[in-house]
């Protein structure tokens, strides 16, 4: 049997996460050198269309199902089908994107197939048939080279680590329907609903991130409403004004709003915005740190960003050590000025 790489296409409500195409594209490049085929598995709604797109990005065949049991993500039915397909087709490797879903599925499939997982991979080197993966550990303070000692080799690929995939609409391939491996009554969970969290936070795949730290909270020129008597209340109010300002810069850039742990712990912004070792590890094209001193845990979470800009009043702040561009000054003046300039340039 010709060797193959199986790729799981991560999707939500019929829309693929862009990271899925990165993974297909990486699999395609690896397969090209060895004559292997790439098979993309798309489960959920809109699976045939997504399967076609997967072929455009480098898959040779798409395996698809719109079965109702896949409409909402649940790990058990998907992992069971993945494992069944892998047992039938004996792929060399199974690739996922490092998403909440990809990580979980990779883990479960590895148990079924008695293999190992290399999670959150940022580089792949081929040594014969063996894939040697580079992955950050200790939130990127160290790098580990790792390999699976059995087959299939199961990898999850970090979002944005492998470059932009290119769609080629002239590519064609077979789209094959697959049947679910679990019946609804064999699944112990049910998805009841979804809730959105306030504001748009998709730090993982954002090309631009603007983050605020504690420094954002102490604008001396702001007078909190007179009815606020409690000091903590005043502090939170000031911080929220500060984060609104940082958010406006993020919005002007079409980017996402991030925050330091100090700002999250102080209650200024929800945890979903936290960048760092106990938050999200990010790697955008542009990272602007506003009023962030740069604790080691924060630096670990953003140091691989392509261009880092630091705006801080303290010239000794450690954040300047990793910054490409630094501005020492009053962030409450510089940030609005930058927002204004960028908006004007966008408009022209």
């Amino acid at each position: 049997m010709a060797s193959s790489i199986l790729v799981y296409i991560d999707q939500f409500k019929g829309k693929a996460l862009p990271a899925s195409w990165e993974v297909v594209s990486v699999a395609h490049k690896l397969a090209e050198t060895s004559g292997a085929t790439v098979k993309a598995l798309v489960l959920g709604t809109n699976s045939e269309t997504l399967g076609q797109t997967a072929i455009h990005y480098g898959a040779d065949e798409a395996l698809v199902s719109d079965d109702p049991s896949f409409a909402d993500y649940r790990p058990e039915p998907i992992a069971t089908l993945l494992s069944k397909l892998a047992k039938d087709q004996q792929p060399e490797a199974i690739f996922f994107s490092t998403s909440t879903r990809g990580r979980e599925l990779a883990a479960m499939v590895a148990i079924d197939l008695e293999s190992g997982v290399l999670p959150d991979v940022i580089e792949i080197n081929k040594e014969g048939a063996r894939l040697v993966a580079t992955r950050p550990i200790y939130a990127g303070k160290l790098l580990a080279k790792a390999a699976c000692t059995s087959k299939p080799q199961i990898l999850t690929l970090r979002v944005r680590a492998f470059g932009k995939p290119v769609e080629d609409a002239s590519r064609s391939g077979k789209v094959t329907k697959v049947a679910p491996a679990l019946a609804e009554n064999e699944i112990a969970t049910k998805v009841v609903d979804y809730a959105t969290i306030e504001g748009r936070v998709s730090l993982g795949d954002a090309a631009i991130i603007v983050s605020g730290g504690r420094g954002v909270s102490n604008n001396p020129n702001l007078a909190p409403p007179a009815e606020f008597t409690d000091e903590k209340q005043k502090e939170i109010w000031r911080a929220q004004q500060g984060f609104k300002m940082v958010g406006e810069l993020a919005e002007a850039l079409g980017g996402a709003l991030g925050a330091s742990r100090a700002a999250v712990d102080a209650g200024y912004v929800p945890y979903a915005h936290q960048v760092g070792q106990t938050g999200k590890v990010v790697s955008p094209d542009l990272y602007i740190a506003v009023g962030i001193s740069g604790a080691i845990q924060h630096l670990a979470g953003m140091r691989t960003s392509k261009v880092i800009v630091a705006i801080n009043k303290d010239p000794e702040a450690p954040i300047f050590k990793v910054a490409r561009y630094g501005v020492v000054g009053d962030l409450f003046e510089i940030v609005p000025a930058l927002t204004k300039v960028l908006k004007e340039r966008r408009a022209n």
Binding site: T100, A107, A146, T149, A188, P270
Partner: protein
């Protein structure tokens, strides 16, 4: 309810990590309970208080891991067990999951097995779903809230943190949960708790006690290294006014091609 919470001892997140001769060092930084696991302990205790039950903390590691367990005891866990065996050196996630699952089975009659989101050292986040798969229980990862639980009817409703917001899931019990920070700030150990923990006898279970042979790791780590230093050709942007600084910075960013 019978709840097990699994914790790991790791170098403090403030540690500066270095590698010498392939061996990882963390300088004089202390070893602490994995920060994510504190949220797991908090969730376990909160659930036990709200819905009735008792929490056992377990850790896989050497003698030093007793400190992580003592922290869990001081927070309020009823008992703690250390799983330790010289045959287990640097197990991968799947081997770890196999050992922890054997311990969960030895405890018996569990309703919930609770983990942190991931460990801040190896950063895999794989152990929870692996344990769920081995136990054959539902995997409820990244739980931000438990909104309903019926121990009698063996059902639970959770909110999971996903890329798109929150997914609300109903599940049968027993189940395996991993907890994220939104669940709520972990409580500080009380004075009484610390005293109790310092006196606690922590039993040690070996692989023989668990009735399993050494599980095989499926991943090898041929090399660990420090990342290449960031070429920080740092450039300070200055100007007579904020507008001038903003314009200069915008020019630079356009030249870098990141806008």
């Amino acid at each position: 309810m019978k709840i097990a919470v699994f914790v790991k001892q790791v170098p403090d997140s403030a540690a500066k990590m270095t590698v010498e001769g392939g061996v990882v060092h963390w300088g004089d930084a202390p070893l602490v309970i994995n920060p994510w696991d504190e949220y797991a302990v908090e969730a376990a205790l909160w659930l036990a208080e709200k819905y009735g039950g008792e929490v056992t903390a377990l850790s896989l590691g050497d003698e030093g891991a007793k400190e992580a367990l003592k922290h869990a005891l001081a927070m309020g866990c009823a008992q703690a067990i250390l799983i330790s065996d010289p045959a287990l050196s640097a197990p991968d996630a799947s081997a770890t999951a196999r050992v922890l699952v054997a311990a969960a089975k030895k405890l018996g009659q569990l309703d919930l097995a609770i983990f942190g989101k991931q460990a801040i050292d190896t950063d895999t986040g794989l152990t929870t779903p692996m344990a769920a798969r081995l136990l054959g229980w539902p995997s409820l990862t990244l739980v931000a809230a438990v909104t309903q639980l019926d121990a009698g009817a063996k059902s639970i409703r959770v909110e999971r943190g996903i890329e798109e917001g929150r997914q609300i899931v109903e599940s049968k019990l027993p189940a395996v949960l991993s907890i994220v920070k939104d669940f709520g700030e972990p409580r500080y150990p009380s004075f009484m708790g610390i005293r109790k923990a310092s006196k606690a006898e922590i039993p040690i279970w070996s692989l023989a006690d668990l009735g399993i042979s050494t599980p095989e790791s499926k991943v090898s780590w041929p090399q660990i290294s420090s990342p290449p230093p960031r070429a920080a050709t740092s450039e300070l942007i200055t100007g007579a006014s904020s507008e001038e600084i903003a314009n200069k910075l915008a020019d630079k960013l356009i030249t870098e091609g990141v806008l």
